[in-house]
């Protein structure tokens, strides 16, 4: 089953905590249930994204890595 991404963020080259802040801002604009994907290069962003998702209740859908680029998918929480 393919998934539809509502918003894609390019966070490559940014160091923490900028990727989290830009993601937090972008997530606010999404409707509940919509998906956001982000591409980042800061290795520290992997645990930060997972912890942010857990803390805010927005489900962490998946993550993958291609070379030096990390790819995350987050889902806007249902109200």
């Amino acid at each position: 089953m393919s998934i539809t991404i509502a918003k894609s963020l390019d966070l490559k080259g940014l160091s923490c905590p900028l990727p989290i802040i830009k993601t937090a801002k972008a997530m606010k604009e999404l409707a509940p249930g919509e998906l956001l994907e982000a591409f980042a290069t800061d290795p520290g962003s992997v645990p930060d994204f997972k912890a942010w998702a857990k803390s805010t209740g927005n489900p962490f859908v998946e993550s993958s890595q291609e070379g030096a680029v990390f790819h995350f998918v987050l889902k806007k929480k249902e109200i």
Partner: protein, 378 residues
């Protein structure tokens, strides 16, 4: 004749570059520094002004007294850089030409970008620190909230340091038991750097400073006295202290030299502008993803100066490049401090907080005026 070396900004970085270049090139170049105020301000002292441990007058000196005689100081505001014709237009209408240009204009704070944010206090300008000190003097107990309203900001450890110094201040005034200190952090830890967070978090807990993670300040309601995060959380306050959002200076934005926030893109090693010839940028001015701090401006200044000296003398670019070196002190209260040191290739290390680091910081603060601006400290 010789080259025209023009430096915009008389902060720590611009002043060091001017003095180092002047010392090396003699009469081969005319060196001009443009500063909008004519005063050099020691910004790390703002934190101490806020808690009443430093006098504002001790943090400000005339820039002219810190520059070598070979450097010409113009007190004026640069309004437009024209790289195509290698000219800089000043507010007075005067135009200066350059062969080598250093952008050391630093950052500015824009609290107005946060809805309701102007109701918050800050210690990022001298006036702000003085106002905060007055507010603390009037404070008789309640909840003081410290938050971050924008990244990047100057001196990353400052909010944590302020929390510790505030704890000391309230204890000295016997108000600590009637007060709560809440520190709101953009990440799920006290500080960006994990090793430093691990060191300071137990001390925050020991001092009764409450840490709330993933709280990226979005807006303030000055009537309800609440601050709300992008994550959707709301916290009550009696006194609110925010790190304001920062941007590059207007001249950078108006001249199209930077990104959407006015940070100048440079090579992270040579500090040369990524697309424009004969332009370097240092310190807060750049888009390098590294601390915006005096120590970075200080270390970068010697690299930019060496590049410019080589350009003036017609020599090959120097092999010495900026390696990402950062060195900061972090006050942990009770007369103790630690340090944070790292570079592009080495992760941060912080020693256990001790009195000697507090005294080292105090000594640095006092000797700054006689060592750093003159380029006497490597």
């Amino acid at each position: 004749m010789g080259n025209d070396v023009l430096i915009l900004g008389g902060g720590v970085g611009g002043t060091i570059v001017a003095n180092l270049v002047a010392r090396e090139v003699g009469d081969r170049a005319r060196i001009t520094l443009v500063d909008s105020t004519g005063f050099h301000v020691y910004q790390p002292g703002f934190l101490y002004v806020a808690v009443g441990n430093e006098q504002p007058a001790a943090l400000k000196r005339p820039e002219a007294g810190l520059l070598l005689h070979d450097v010409k100081l113009i007190v004026d505001c640069a309004t437009l850089v024209q790289p195509g014709v290698r000219k800089v237009v000043l507010k007075s209408g005067r135009t200066l030409r350059y062969d080598e240009l250093v952008l050391a204009t630093g950052s500015r704070t824009v609290m107005g970008e946060v809805p309701g944010g102007l109701a918050a206090h800050d210690f990022y300008t001298l006036d702000g620190a003085m106002r905060l000190h007055r507010a603390l003097n009037d404070f008789e107990g309640g909840t003081i909230v410290i938050g971050v309203a924008g990244i990047p900001y100057k001196c990353p450890p400052a909010p944590v340091e302020f929390a510790f110094l505030l704890d000391d201040y309230l204890r000295a005034r016997r108000l600590r038991e009637k007060s709560q200190i809440k520190l709101l952090s953009p990440l799920n830890r006290a500080f960006t750097i994990e090793a430093t967070s691990k060191l300071v978090q137990p001390i925050l807990a020991e001092r009764g400073i409450e840490l709330t993670g993933f709280f990226n300040v979005e807006s303030v309601d000055p009537v309800a006295k609440t601050v709300t995060s992008m994550e959707g959380e709301t916290v009550d306050y009696d006194l609110l202290v925010l790190v304001p959002p920062h941007r590059g200076q207007k001249v950078i934005e108006d001249s199209g030299l930077g990104d959407e926030r006015g940070w100048v893109p440079v090579d992270k090693n040579t500090l040369r502008h990524t697309t424009l010839d004969r332009i370097w940028a240092i310190g807060d001015t750049t888009n390098i993803p590294i601390s915006k701090s005096g120590s970075v401006a200080h270390y970068e200044a010697s690299v930019a100066a060496a590049e410019i000296v080589a350009a003036v003398k017609g020599e090959a670019a120097p092999s010495h490049v900026y390696d990402g070196k950062v060195m900061c002190f972090l006050e942990t209260g009770h007369g103790q401090a630690t340090t944070i040191r790292f570079d592009y290739d080495h992760p941060p290390v912080s020693p256990t907080p001790a009195r000697r680091w507090h005294w080292a910081k105090a000594l640095f603060n006092k000797t700054y005026w006689h060592t750093v601006p003159q380029g006497r400290l490597p």
